[in-house]
Symmetry: C2
Subunit: 441 residues, 2 copies
């Protein structure tokens, strides 16, 4: 029934004018990161074991799942000297790039730090909010092929800027392999301790504590379905960040950006994994054709061609809309993790964008710059959760306490109001507690 057909590149072509556009877009965006009952059961079992047997369970699971043969947690613990050694051992170009990225991320996040505030009312009553860092944060870093030093910077630096007293990182060591860049990033980001454990067992250890692993107050960082399921299970006992879905980008182009640039921007999203989503929107059909031709021409030159092809064919799209207003509507409907406004005057769009994790403005701001070193965080709300969630930030590693300090006069006046309302709720001890503070009774 659709008027447009998938091309040789496999990427879908949609148009807002198509009768079935809404259904096709919904199908394209649909994502259910479900953990079935079997995974749930295994995760519950792992959490119970770590809670009951601590380090011994961690050693057993690590030996089994990561194919190790360690005897104790001492062999799964890295001190700060080891992290610094990794940093010193890097080739100079990598060391400098990592340090430059860390510094830019630190500068941006320092601007983001909320401060305590208070104000005094006429009768002397003081109201306010005290902002305090968490005592201890846990950073989960995936092992194996998806080990990204940039993620270590993005997760740990906000915690460090917030003033968290102790930052614990966990990263599994499958087959005993460690990534030196990841350890170097941990050194730069201010991580205090690293345990080379992963999976649901690492989440359980951070949430409940073991003889070796200290219990943390919040766990952040991406992971596979076992990690996500475990985070959901311990939510409430500790804080967690959002449970992330596949990464996605929505690029809006006014046809003024070179087609090759846009094709590569889409690839940079699609190369993450087969579930990643890359969508381009434009009101210029010839431009969409040009980008599709660029995709076709450049695809064979990619190192991760197979992954990109599968991602584009399964979840990618080139969408033709009628005009700028429809493009804005699509942005807010999709609520993308990454939004690239590849247009002449991106500032004029900003007030209309209600939902997006990060907004990359203009032709020069490739998402890749934000992924690594522009400064803002690359941990962003996925799968439309930008409707209600924010980038990871300093605020995720702080919490607030309300401050109420009534003067005797203030308490007397407030007591009269509280008394009426408390009696309206039949909470008479509340009322009497307030009434004790009313003057001249």
């Amino acid at each position: 029934m659709t008027k447009t057909l998938a091309s040789a590149t496999g990427i879908a072509r949609l148009a807002t004018g198509d009768a079935d556009f809404d259904d096709r877009l919904d199908a394209l965006l649909a994502w259910e990161g479900v953990s079935d009952a079997e995974i749930q059961g295994r995760v519950d079992e792992i959490i119970a074991a770590v809670k009951a047997r601590g380090d011994a369970a961690l050693v057993e699971y690590s030996n089994r799942f990561d194919r190790l043969s360690v005897a104790s947690m001492a062999e799964l613990t890295l001190g700060s000297a080891r992290l610094e050694q990794a940093y010193r051992g890097l080739p100079a170009a990598q060391r400098d790039a990592l340090a430059a990225a860390a510094e830019r991320i630190r500068l941006y996040h320092a601007r983001q730090k909320p401060e305590s505030w208070h104000y005094t009312e006429a009768d002397g009553t003081v109201l306010g909010q005290q902002v305090v860092p968490l005592d201890r944060a846990g950073i989960y870093v995936p092992g194996g092929k998806a080990t990204y030093p940039s993620s270590v910077l993005m997760n740990a630096i906000p915690a460090h800027v917030a003033g968290v007293r102790e930052i614990i990182m966990v990263v599994p060591m499958p087959d005993g392999v460690l990534n030196e860049l990841v350890l170097a990033a941990a050194h730069l980001a201010g991580v205090d301790h690293v345990f080379t454990i992963g999976g649901a067992q690492a989440v359980a250890a951070l949430a409940h504590g073991t003889e070796t692993v200290p219990r943390v107050d919040k766990i952040v960082g991406p992971g596979n379905i076992y990690v996500a399921t475990a985070k959901r299970a311990v939510f409430g006992r500790v804080g967690i960040d959002m449970i992330a879905g596949p990464s996605e980008i929505l690029v809006v182009s006014d046809a003024g950006t070179p087609a090759d640039w846009l094709a590569m921007d889409l690839f940079s999203q699609a190369e993450h994994d087969e579930d990643a989503q890359a969508i381009l929107v434009s009101w210029d059909e010839a431009h969409l054709d040009a980008v599709e031709a660029a995709i076709e021409r450049l695809l064979p030159t990619l190192e991760r061609e197979a992954i990109v092809r599968e991602s584009l064919a399964g979840r990618g799209a080139l969408i033709h809309c009628r005009n700028r207003a429809e493009a804005v509507e699509l942005i807010n409907r999709i609520a993308p993790e990454h939004l690239e406004l590849s247009v002449a005057d991106p500032d004029s769009w900003l007030s209309e964008v209600r939902h997006a994790g990060a907004i990359f403005m203009g032709r020069y701001t490739a998402e890749a710059l934000g992924d690594y070193c522009a400064g803002p965080n690359h941990v962003l709300p996925t799968s439309g959760t930008a409707r209600f969630s924010s980038p990871l930030g300093v605020y995720d590693f702080q919490k607030r306490s309300s401050i109420i300090h009534c003067s005797s006069r203030g308490a007397s006046e407030l007591g009269k109001i509280a008394s009426v309302l408390a009696r309206g709720e039949s909470l008479t001890a509340h009322a009497r507690s307030a009434e004790y503070r009313i003057e001249e009774r």
Copy 2:
């Protein structure tokens, strides 16, 4: 083995010097708000039914669980005229008290509102963060005996101050009974629509939307175990606030506050329900004796005596500590929802308090004043979650988007860094996307 015995009031006496103090305190604080597999199964079933059959399922469940006999959602929908009518119909004293409380809450929360910010770097690159309200928020309000108009104010006003476009309230109507004060509070707080539905079915409707109930972006508000289980289940599809445990207070007294006042402050917490927790800490043993005597004397005068007795006997405590330092240690260990610093110079304590939902300072600031009308929110982190959570606030109804706008020069410099790091992660399409923006290649 304990040296101290429960008194006639049933409240436990503990001392930090006791050999078994740590164990007894841990036992006292232990709280597992578990939802068992049976509840989980029933909630999953309800959510699936509402998702599949929408309004029809809502009508069926409301008829069954709330003992109604309505034919359609029209009978479970209240318009703004009905809310205003409830407000106009209140006795003047209640209307004025509610309006005064709403105004103070609004003033406090207006101070709390984070603003967008940005800065420009030397090469013209702009970085920042855009703060935007949610499109739509859902407020859950319990029905029956725990229907509190103050909770409507505390949940809805921050959403309204944040600028949320549409605020939906749900409140069950068991046996057809509505609370006029609750409706009046909804009118004052800026609620747009009220549906008289509750339980897991109301949470499901807010998360998924039905023909009548619009899908929201975030659900806040307290509820029973079914509501809490449903909120946990839809978390990720929509945002939720914390899953609350029983309410608690920790009062620290330097013996300068009248024993009767302190007894009533403890009662005001204990009268909420049998699981509520009220703890008093002091280094003056004679003062603890005096408060216990006041408890014994005042208990028979309470309307909710039975609930208070059970709460104090089961979860209350009078704790003798050695000195001020030990009191501070206890505060941070317990991380109380409500902390009352009933001492001569509470300001001097503030920098040492790391974990508390709200801090009530000095002899005049009864918790009850904060519960109703001081201004700060009364929705606070319970069960030690103040270690990582904050009071409900304007920030819960906003989200942030990162802004990155690179100048051509900025993109060129950042591109060099991103290229090195992306290649270090084997993400070569990222690298090439960045490299296109490097000048003079």
